[in-house]
């Protein structure tokens, strides 16, 4: 059966389909360029990614090097000052970008993959499976705010990698619901019904026909999701439930600045600015992406 369809697809058809897909993304990119705020967001994110990759080259000091220059105000030598152990704040912020971006990406990947699998299969198979999955999601959503992540960390123990897992699990219900809702619409479309009538396997229908057509809302959700995950991770580290000393992490840096607010404002100001800048850029980019990819949401 599948040999028939493959034989029918000439190389020219495949090339046309590929260029069509490429056009769709090129088109989205062109539209994105006409949105200055989204572009500014994208540029700042790229700068932060570059900073994270080149941290050893860019950072003037080692982020964990202790010096006798404790809580020194910003100077030419230490543009962002030093912390309570004499570590260079700028270097710690540069290295901190590695931690935050990694946490954001990994947590969202966990949520996206699990949520997509659960949501698509719940909608596709329906019945008791759908009911069970969605009731479990209801229970997960019954935990207010950050509390589910905190509860998971209580089980696994406080650490950065456990914080990533906890944030990822906490976000699963949102992706599951979105994937399920989109799949419910797509699976009734003629080409999916047609593929089923031709005898395609469930796996083939899901991966070849459903998945490519529900990626848009998931991508939009994931972009904003990275921003949210970075915020939550910094919050958990602030509470001492995420990154552990001496890791250079923005939330943890803010937490230790708490005791020295009266005379060391730089310890609190610069790490916070870094968080806001990254999260704001991701939100700007995500908003732009949503407007372009999802015309129904456009305002």
């Amino acid at each position: 059966m599948s040999s028939v369809t493959q034989a029918a697809l000439r190389p020219a058809d495949l090339a046309a389909a590929e260029s069509h897909a490429r056009n769709r993304y090129a088109d989205a990119f062109r539209k994105l360029r006409s949105r200055p705020m989204a572009m500014i967001g994208a540029v700042i994110i790229l700068l932060f990614i570059a900073m994270a990759l080149m941290a050893p080259i860019l950072a003037p000091y080692d982020p964990t090097d202790i010096s006798r220059d404790r809580r020194a105000a910003p100077t030419m030598e230490h543009p962002f000052g030093t912390d309570e152990l004499g570590r260079d704040v700028l270097s710690r912020i540069i290295y901190g970008s590695r931690v935050s971006l990694r946490v954001g990406l990994i947590a969202v990947s966990i949520a996206l993959v699990c949520g997509a699998i659960l949501g698509i299969s719940a909608a596709y198979f329906g019945g008791w499976f759908d009911g069970t999955v969605m009731r479990i999601m209801d229970v997960m959503l019954a935990f207010p705010g950050i509390l589910l992540a905190i509860a998971i960390i209580a089980i696994l123990g406080p650490s950065l990698s456990n914080a990533m897992i906890a944030i990822g699990i906490e976000a699963i219900p949102v992706y599951t619901r979105t994937a399920r809702a989109s799949t419910l619409t797509v699976k009734e479309l003629e080409y999916v019904v047609g593929a089923k009538a031709l005898g395609s396997s469930s796996g083939r229908i899901i991966f070849r026909h459903i998945l490519p057509n529900i990626t848009t809302p998931l991508i939009v959700l994931a972009t904003v999701g990275v921003a949210g995950s970075i915020l939550t991770a910094a919050g958990l580290s602030y509470l001492g439930l995420g990154a552990q000393p001496p890791t250079a992490e923005w939330g943890a840096m803010l937490s230790s600045s708490r005791s020295y607010l009266r005379d060391s404002w730089w310890m609190a100001t610069f790490p916070g600015m870094a968080i806001v800048l990254v999260v704001l850029s991701l939100n700007l980019f995500g908003d732009g992406l949503r407007d372009i990819l999802d015309p129904r949401m456009r305002r």
Binding site: A142, F143, L147, L239, G240, V276
Partner: protein, 305 residues
């Protein structure tokens, strides 16, 4: 209406069942021996056996769960390992402080967020709209633990206008603003988009066409309809605020459930952690139930569906 209310109440039961199961399973999901983890390294064999017996860990799992629920519905959340106090008593002693902060923040966020959202929608694509939406975007991008620190720096230490810790209503102002800001931002964005949705509908054009003044159209026709979805978001935000209070309490060193939670996790006191989880989730479930029922009162379409 009665049918809807009953239906909605019945739906709460499986969620509460799941939440209680999750809270119960927490101590069993800990990698390694939960009792050894709870006791720490200095415990003796006798302590170990006593705690296992006290926690009923030698019984089958379903029996343990049954006992857990049986006690929980009677208000017995178990006894803390460290303080030896009933967990529910400890929670109830700290809850009023957290609840006050959460409610103050929720009301502030609703009033500020909805007002700004309406202003932005009625002045769409103007300078006011742009300014409000910029603030809203900043609000959702700013971590509470940083905005709280900035408020302490500015109003507490530099200007000395407001206390940064302590009790009394003046000490509540900065934490409330800190906690409310992100929620107000979310609500402003939601209200604006909901208002714009309603503004585009036929009955609004009809109201305008029959010559009603703009103010009446906006406040009597549009706002009342636009607020319906916003109310659900207020309910959801209440949960975010309850969770966010953990962080804000820590920033302002306020005694409450937040610090209790962090200490419980640091000391691995599982009866305390399970109690907090069960308590907070139950509160949130009932708040959402109340919001849903309120929703039915406001919007007849839901009642008669």
């Amino acid at each position: 209406m009665t049918r809807y209310v009953l239906q909605r109440i019945v739906l709460v039961i499986p969620v509460l069942f799941g939440v209680s199961l999750a809270a119960f399973m927490m101590s069993h999901l800990v990698p390694g021996d939960p009792v050894a983890v709870m006791l720490g390294e200095t415990a003796t064999k006798e302590d170990y056996d006593n705690l296992r017996e006290q926690l009923g860990l030698n019984d089958p799992l379903w029996q343990q769960y049954g006992r857990y629920v049986y006690h929980a519905v009677q208000g017995d959340f178990g006894t803390s390992i460290r303080s030896k106090q009933p967990v529910l008593d400890e929670i109830m002693a700290r809850f009023p402080s957290t609840l006050t902060l959460t409610i103050c923040a929720c009301v502030t966020a609703a009033v500020v967020g909805i007002t700004l959202g309406v202003l932005a929608a009625t002045s769409k694509r103007s300078g006011v709209d742009g300014l409000i939406m910029t603030f809203a975007l900043l609000g959702v991008s700013m971590p509470a633990f940083w905005s709280g620190i900035l408020l302490i720096l500015l109003f507490g230490l530099k200007l000395g206008w407001l206390p940064i810790a302590g009790s009394g209503w003046r000490a509540l102002i900065l934490p409330t603003i800190t906690l409310a800001a992100p929620a107000a931002a979310v609500l402003a964005r939601m209200t604006r988009s909901s208002m714009l949705d309603v503004l585009g509908q036929d009955f609004v054009r009809t109201a305008r066409a029959k010559g009603l003044r703009d103010r009446i159209v906006v406040y009597r026709h549009v706002l009342r309809n636009a607020l319906v979805p916003v109310i659900t978001i207020v309910g959801i935000q209440f949960g975010a605020l309850l969770g966010g209070a953990v962080i804000v309490e820590s920033v302002f060193s306020r005694p409450g459930l937040g610090r209790y939670t962090i200490t419980a996790i640091e000391q691995r006191d599982f009866p305390q952690i399970q109690g907090i989880v069960l308590f907070a989730a139950a509160i949130y479930v009932f708040v959402n139930l109340a919001v849903d029922l309120m929703y039915a009162v406001i919007d007849p379409r839901i009642r008669y569906r």
